[in-house]
Symmetry: C2
């Protein structure tokens, strides 16, 4: 009844492909308006389909949102893998990573706004929690990979848990995003500067592999 009849060729792929198209369109609208103000009709208006089709591919508004969140995740997982792979020195990694953080805010600001919006919504909407928790975990692992590579290049150990390291960097990132959205011109440069100053503190020695003591001033 729910539409899981497969005849012969490859209808499942087609089905998923259309879902992805709709999700992509939905993400664009969600990124602009946020979770609360985005309606299925608005999503459909910004796509090439009518509003009825949303309910054909998604049982529920929540199912659409969750699908979008997972779909969005897929594009984030490998965002900093190049940075990790290309790095040849601790300082080089630090510079590339901090720059990339600022860059993704500049290039994909609305998407990040949406992420924080949805994560907040998950505190009130239990149906969102599983997907949100999974993404948060994935991001934590991503940060952890960066940090481990940085520690390797610096020849030192990390003295933080993966959870703590991610939480703190996420806090910096979020503040920078807020500043960026609010129009503060120095938000992005400030983020890079802060990250370059903070990450060395997460290693054991702290003062040897990087520039002098005072880290982020402004």
């Amino acid at each position: 009844m729910a539409g899981v009849n497969r005849a012969r060729v490859a209808p499942a792929d087609k089905h998923d492909k259309r879902r992805s198209e709709l999700a992509e369109s939905a993400l664009r609208t969600l990124g602009e308006l946020g979770y609360a103000r985005t309606s299925l009709r608005e999503i459909a208006n910004n796509s090439e389909f009518s509003h009825g089709v949303m309910h054909y591919y998604f049982a529920d508004k929540l199912e659409l949102i969750v699908y979008c969140v997972r779909y969005y995740k897929a594009r984030c997982v490998t965002r900093y893998d190049d940075v990790i792979a290309d790095a040849t020195s601790a300082d080089g990694l630090l510079n590339a990573f901090s720059a990339k953080l600022a860059e993704t805010i500049r290039d994909e600001g609305p998407m990040h706004s949406l992420w924080y919006d949805l994560r907040s919504q998950s505190m009130f909407e239990p149906g969102l929690r599983e997907a949100v928790t999974l993404i948060d975990r994935t991001l934590e692992e991503m940060i952890w990979r960066v940090l481990r590579r940085y520690a390797d290049l610096a020849g030192q150990d990390i003295r933080l848990s993966a959870a703590a390291a991610y939480a703190m960097l996420d806090g910096l990132f979020q503040q920078a995003l807020l500043g960026h959205v609010a129009g503060r011109a120095d938000a992005l440069d400030g983020l890079s500067q802060q990250v370059r100053g903070v990450i060395p503190l997460m290693l054991t020695a702290g003062d040897r592999a990087t520039r002098p003591a005072r880290a982020a001033a402004g």
Copy 2:
């Protein structure tokens, strides 16, 4: 036109008092349902008034929300002042502060959820930004006071900006809140542990005023 007619006695005080009552009631509902799902009728239902009165005291839904946010701020400013005043040693301050952080999540969880909800909403709703930015700044100053007192007691210097320190601690706090709301039993203890491990890293020497190197493990 907006209702600034004062006759004789003290109508302004009465007016503001009622606004505060309504704001308090609204905050209770907002904390439970979040910004998106809370309607003026729902707020009124959870109060002793009817839904029409909201528009009598607040021109707009947004004005009500902003008033609520500012009203909520007033109760937060001095939350850790006792901790600062009562502390006699760096370790004592650290323990008291980290415990208080976890305590406020346990006691006022919904209110904090609402705060993060509204802060996220401010990225889509420009009308919220001013109030949100102001609160964020106030919280930053609060954290900075704690950190400065801690540095004084430890006889060391802080090697972070106020913005960076707040952002990172806020990140830890937010993750703990998310875990707490999701039902993770170790979220609160984990926060205290993480904070006790992280804050010493924010000072110059890092390894002398506190316990050994490895800080937050789990």
